[in-house]
Amino acid sequence: MEAGVIDDIRLVEQARQGELPAFEELVRRYQGPLYGYLCRMCRNPDTAEELAQIALTKAWTGLAGFRAEASFKTWLFRIATNCCLNELTRNRPHEPLTDREPSPERWEPVQAFRNRDDFERVNHALAELSADQRSALLLSVHEDMSYAEIARVLGRSVNSVNALLYRARLTLRQALNR
């Protein structure tokens, strides 16, 4: 087991005893990846923020039910994905991320993206995917989750995730080739 995961388990145990600083550390650790994932999923920074807040609060109230069969990260992303998919099926109108100029302080480019056109092309390609395809793809590419972990997050079998990612990658390929 990775050191980070062991550390998470220790923090989760402390948080379950009611130690707020331990939970605060978990929030600090995962708010970034969670928020980034939700931004890409719902394509709206404000909705992403709201969903991240809901998911993290739900994680706290549901901590007693967390079993260490999965990592805390997988469990947290499952909560967030459920919140997000519910939100998306409610068909709340959202503004596309690409149509909104992100404030520079909120973007933290790992490296400069090729160019603005490429960035928009990828974002439009992602938007063409179904919500669960997008979710599986983002978890695989951005969160480096294995297919087994993605299966836990989405509540599906590994074979189903395999098929989902296959369709997602081919749709993305076609969209990027246009």
Binding site: E49, T61, E108, V110
Partner: protein, 135 residues
């Protein structure tokens, strides 16, 4: 191996996922099929392009908001006792209640009515006429 089957496995390969028992078959297929080799390269490139997407930084207020909500919901996260332990605790409490009731009842009841004291009184008392006759 047919290209159709290989393509499903190529996605796993591009995602650094174990391909399983068909890995050897896939390698042989890739050696022969230029189209699948091109697709694999394209899938790897797409993955890299996706990874280059800028990372969105969460607003500073997020942590504070979450912790405020968490403080309001504090008791909910306290670990609930496992069901078995809870049942055992209830049974123990019930038995303790009965024991306490017996002790209190014993303490406040008149000495003569206590079963043990009655036996003691009987044993210490003078034998009656009937008892003497029996002896």
């Amino acid at each position: 191996m047919k290209c159709e089957t290989a393509r499903i496995l190529l996605v796993s390969l591009a995602d650094h996922e174990p391909v399983g028992p068909r890995a050897g078959e896939l390698t042989r297929h890739l050696e022969q099929c230029a189209e699948c080799r091109t697709l694999l390269e394209a899938l790897k490139r797409d993955r890299e392009i996706l990874r280059e997407l800028p990372v969105m930084k969460p607003p500073d207020r997020l942590l504070g908001w979450v912790m405020t909500q968490v403080r309001q919901a504090e008791p909910a996260a306290r670990p609930a006792l496992p069901r078995l332990l809870r049942v055992a605790a209830i049974i123990l409490l019930f038995l303790a209640g009965i024991a306490l009731g017996v002790v209190i009842g014993y303490t406040i009841s008149p000495k003569e009515s206590r079963p043990i004291d009655r036996i003691a009184v009987l044993m210490m008392s003078e034998p009656t006429e009937n008892q003497s006759e029996v002896q």
